[in-house]
Symmetry: C2
Subunit: 262 residues, 2 copies
């Protein structure tokens, strides 16, 4: 028996999220089918966390155990041959027993990409390319990058992020990622904006993320960036520990799971 760790990139567009569901194309289900095709073994690869429908990954990690003694390089090549081009295995590593993609993770990084072509109300603005549209939020509001950065700075450090968690508490807990706290307390080590390839890109690294947490922070940051909310309202939103205190949920398609650290 060998524990395998695989690093994956996927385009979330054609999938109904990570988690296996009968009759629907999901990343976990497609990966399980590819592993079965390659090895004949039926396993359910465990992801570092779920990603929602439309969310992309540049470095998702999954783990599973195999009976067969296939070399890692062969497993890597064979999986990429068996998988659709919308999922690629970037790396395969043999791990010691006890490794688990979700339980062993210590930090995660996400990126959120915003296309900001519509700069003036009622005017046409720059049109978002159809080839880019599945990978960005084509935000219709004029955004101030300085205000976005001010808002982002307020979430650095250890806070209770309940206000930014999906409002269904059962689901928020069930979806909670590692390390699993009983509460909404998480530590954010990096939270910053940059302009890249004509996009506004938000990068966030933390000890773990509640369900919808990055998308709910994004919806709130954009309210700040558009001048509808003061950057200094973020601490109060955190303190409220209520979903209704924060802004709306930003679209899934702008979100990328970038890296999982162990």
């Amino acid at each position: 028996m060998q524990i395998w760790k695989i690093t994956l990139s996927y385009d979330g567009t054609p999938f109904h999220g990570w988690q296996i569901q009968p009759g629907l194309a999901t990343v976990q289900g497609t990966l399980a089918a590819a592993i079965r095709h390659v090895t004949g073994e039926t396993v359910l690869p465990q992801g570092s966390g779920r990603t929602d429908t439309g969310v992309h990954a540049l470095g998702q990690v999954a783990s599973f155990a195999l009976e067969c003694g296939i070399p890692g390089e062969n497993l890597h090549r064979a999986l990429n041959r068996a998988l659709p081009t919308s999922i690629r295995v970037l790396a395969v590593e043999a791990m010691t027993e006890g490794f688990h993609a979700r339980h062993s993770a210590v930090r995660k990084s996400y990126e959120y990409r915003i296309f900001h072509g519509l700069v003036k109300r009622g005017q046409m603005g720059i049109i978002c390319s159809p080839m880019l549209a599945p990978y960005v939020w084509d935000c219709p509001l004029p955004l101030d990058l300085t205000l976005l950065q001010e808002a982002a700075t307020h979430v650095l450090g250890t806070h209770d992020f309940t206000s930014f968690a999906a409002s269904d508490p059962d689901r928020a807990t069930r979806e909670a990622e590692v390390p699993v706290y009983a509460t909404g307390v998480r530590r954010i080590d990096r939270s910053c904006w940059q302009e890249r390839d004509g996009l506004y890109v938000y990068s966030v690294t933390g000890s773990g993320f509640l369900h919808h947490m990055v998308r709910n922070m994004m919806g709130t940051f954009v309210e700040v960036g558009a001048g509808r909310l003061s950057p200094d309202s973020i601490p109060g939103i955190l303190a409220a520990r209520s979903r209704s205190a924060a802004g709306p949920t930003a679209p899934a398609r702008g979100l990328f799971l970038v890296e999982v650290e162990y």
Copy 2:
């Protein structure tokens, strides 16, 4: 009655090509539905030519006539609101009577994008990102850019391109683009390769293109680039005037219709 010219960009991935087909998502059908939604008028927008399933457009042109007196700017905005993000109207122009997107076109430009990550046989190579895969040919052969350019130079000028046309002669003629000759003779003004963003990109401009012509030239160029065929075999392939003389048809997903000139 007003003739409209619209310039379109689209992601060919979710569509069964340009041409309207009952029960299938096509660009022409989706556009006709958007025009009907906006104006209440049922028209069939005429494209500069068809694009096959999976072929993309950066500057497709379509024309249609409307009874209503909607200003161009309003038509532009309303169409983009009505269309899915996989199709964007880039420009709207009011034209004088007699303009027709296909009949009035004088030149067209295409681009073909190749990802060349697998450089050595049997080795892993660079993995093509899932987010890039729908827009490139992830070519498994090691390619020499100098050889590709030598092959491309041989198609410059006026030639009979029958060897590079889809083998069904009825379909090849039916799909023939402007100006419509009775033969396979076309004039190529530009045919060159460049390396861009880590891709090999082929650009071609000509008086018109037979059905599958760019994809069949590409399949042949790649045989040359991989060292399986001499660049000097291209004139003989043209002279043969037979589809079987040329290489295979390259995948649709690497092809972009870039511009139509009038």
